[in-house]
C-alpha cells in the first residue's frame, strides 16, 4: 500500500517524505520534483499526445507554471478560474475578483493535464472538469496536484501528486506564492504553524 507515501523520485535520492514526518519538513522543491516525475510517468503510461497543461487559479496556476517550464512544453499554459462553476454560489455569493479563464478555443480530442495546488474535498476538481467540458470534449484528463490531503467528499482523486498527507481535525494546508512558493499549515483558530 502506498497511501501516505510520495513516489520515490529517483533511486539514489533519499529525500522521500512520509506523513509521519513533521509537516515543517515539507520542502517545496522536493514536492515539485516529485510532481514532475509523477506527471512524466503518467504521460508515458497514459500515452498522452501533445498534452495541454491547465492550471487552476490561483495556486494551481503557480504550480502549473513550474511544471510548464520543467516539462519544456511550448504551447502556452491554459488557465482556469472556476468561480462561476463552484457549487456553493448560493451560500457564499460572488467574489468580484474573478480572473478570466484562458484556454485554447478548441479542446476537442485533446489530452489535458489539469494541475492544482491542494486536493481536499474534490469540489474544485469537479468544477474544473465541468468548465473544461463546456469548452469541448477532451480525449482524456489527468489530474495532478502538489499536495493531496485527507477529507475527500466527492468520488474523485488525483492521478499524480507531489505528496499525500493526513491533517488533524481543523487543520488546513495552503500554498503561498507566487514567488517564493511556500506551504502554510493553519489550524481552525487561524494560527499559522
Amino acid at each position: 500500500m502506498r497511501i501516505g507515501y510520495a513516489p520515490r523520485p529517483a533511486a539514489n535520492n533519499n529525500k522521500m517524505l512520509n506523513h509521519t514526518m513533521s509537516i515543517d519538513s515539507l520542502n517545496i522543491d522536493v514536492l515539485l520534483d516529485n510532481l514532475e516525475l509523477a506527471i512524466r510517468q503518467q504521460i508515458g503510461e497514459r500515452k498522452l499526445q501533445n498534452p495541454l497543461l491547465i492550471g487552476i487559479h490561483s495556486g494551481g496556476a503557480w504550480i502549473a507554471r513550474h511544471m510548464h517550464l520543467r516539462l519544456g512544453i511550448s504551447e502556452p499554459l491554459g488557465l482556469l478560474d472556476i468561480t462561476f462553476y463552484r457549487d456553493d454560489f448560493s451560500q457564499i455569493g460572488m467574489h468580484p475578483k474573478v480572473k478570466t479563464s484562458q484556454l485554447p478555443p478548441h479542446l476537442e480530442g485533446r489530452d489535458i493535464i489539469l494541475i492544482d495546488d491542494v486536493f481536499y474535498s474534490g469540489r474544485t476538481s469537479r468544477a474544473a472538469l465541468n468548465e473544461i467540458f463546456d469548452y469541448g470534449r477532451p480525449n482524456q484528463v489527468v489530474l495532478a496536484v502538489l499536495i493531496e490531503r485527507n477529507g475527500r467528499q466527492i468520488p474523485l482523486q488525483p492521478d499524480c501528486r507531489g505528496i499525500r498527507i493526513d491533517l488533524a481535525e481543523g487543520q488546513r494546508i495552503k500554498l503561498t506564492g507566487p514567488d517564493p512558493l511556500g506551504i502554510e499549515i493553519q489550524d481552525l483558530a487561524g494560527v499559522a504553524a
Binding site: 462561476f84 454560489f89 448560493s90 455569493g93 463546456d134 469548452y135
Partner: protein, 320 residues
Amino acid sequence: MTRHLQLTEQGKLKHFLTIEGLDRDLLTEILDTAESFVGMSEHQVKKVPLLRGKTIVNLFFENSTRTRTTFELAATRLSADVLNMDIARSATSKGESLLDTIRNLEAMQVDMFVVRHALSGAAHFIAQQVAPHISVINAGDGQHAHPTQAMLDMFTIRQHKKQFEGLKVAIVGDILHSRVARSQILALNALGVSEVRVIAPKTLLPAQVKTMGVTPIHDMDEGLADVDVVIMLRLQKERMNSAFLPSESEFFRCFGLTEAKLQRAKTDAIVMHPGPINRGVEIASSVADGPQSVILQQVSNGVAVRMAIMSMAMQSGGTA
C-alpha cells in the same frame, strides 16, 4: 430608504432600482464583476452555470426590444430560465392590477423580476411588495431611472479612459425626459468624475438641474470644449406633450453632434449614445459610425453588465 431597500443587512446588492443610495465601492464592484463576464461572448460555449435553475421574469409594461433582449441574453448566459411577459396580451388588458400580476407570478416560484414601466417608482413599488427571496431589477421606470444603462455606460467609459478622476463628461439633448440621463449623472458623480455638463436648450432641462450636481450649458460649442466623453441622448418625442422644440432640424443645427462640433472636444474623446439613435436629429451619421464612436461597444457591454447585476442581486437569494 432607497439604500436600505436595495441592499441586504450585510450591504450586498438585493434589488437594483436606482443609482441613488449606492456608494462608489458597490458601483465599482459591479464594474469589476462585469469585467469577468466580458470575454464570454468569444467562447464557444457562451454560458456559465451561475444561475442554473433560477427563473427570471421580464415584466415589460413599456415597449422595448433592445433592453429586453439584452436582459434575456444576460439571463440565459447565466443559465437561468427566462419568462417574457407579453403585457399587452396579458391579463393587464383585462384589468388585472399590477400587484395581482406580481402575486400570480410569485405563486409560480420565480426568483427575479426585471421591470420596465411607464410610471416613475414602479420598480420601487414592486420591490417593496415582493416575497423576501425575490430580487427586482429596474429596466426603466417613467422618467425616473434606468440604472443598468447607466452602469453599462460607466463600464464603457472605464474601458476607454481607465479611471474616472479628472474626466469631463458632457450629456447632450433631452435631459428633461431622460431617465437614462438622471441615472448617468448620479453614477458619474458617485464615481468621482471631475465635471458633468448637461447641454440642452432650456426647454429640455429640468428646472432645478443644478441641484443634480451638473453644469448646465445652452451652447454646444462652449459645452463640448475639452471634454473627454460626449453622451448624446435621443429626443424623447413620445414623452413630449407640448412645444419643446421648433423643429428637429433646428435641434440638429444647434445641438446635434457633427464632426465639426466634435472637434471642440479632446482629440481622444469618445462618443456615446444609449440608443436607438436618430441619425440627423441628435447625431450625424458620420459621427455615429466614426472612429470616436463607441456606441456598439455599449451594446455588447450591456450584456456583461446586466449579467453582473443579476448575479450580484441573486446571490442573496433565500436570505433576507
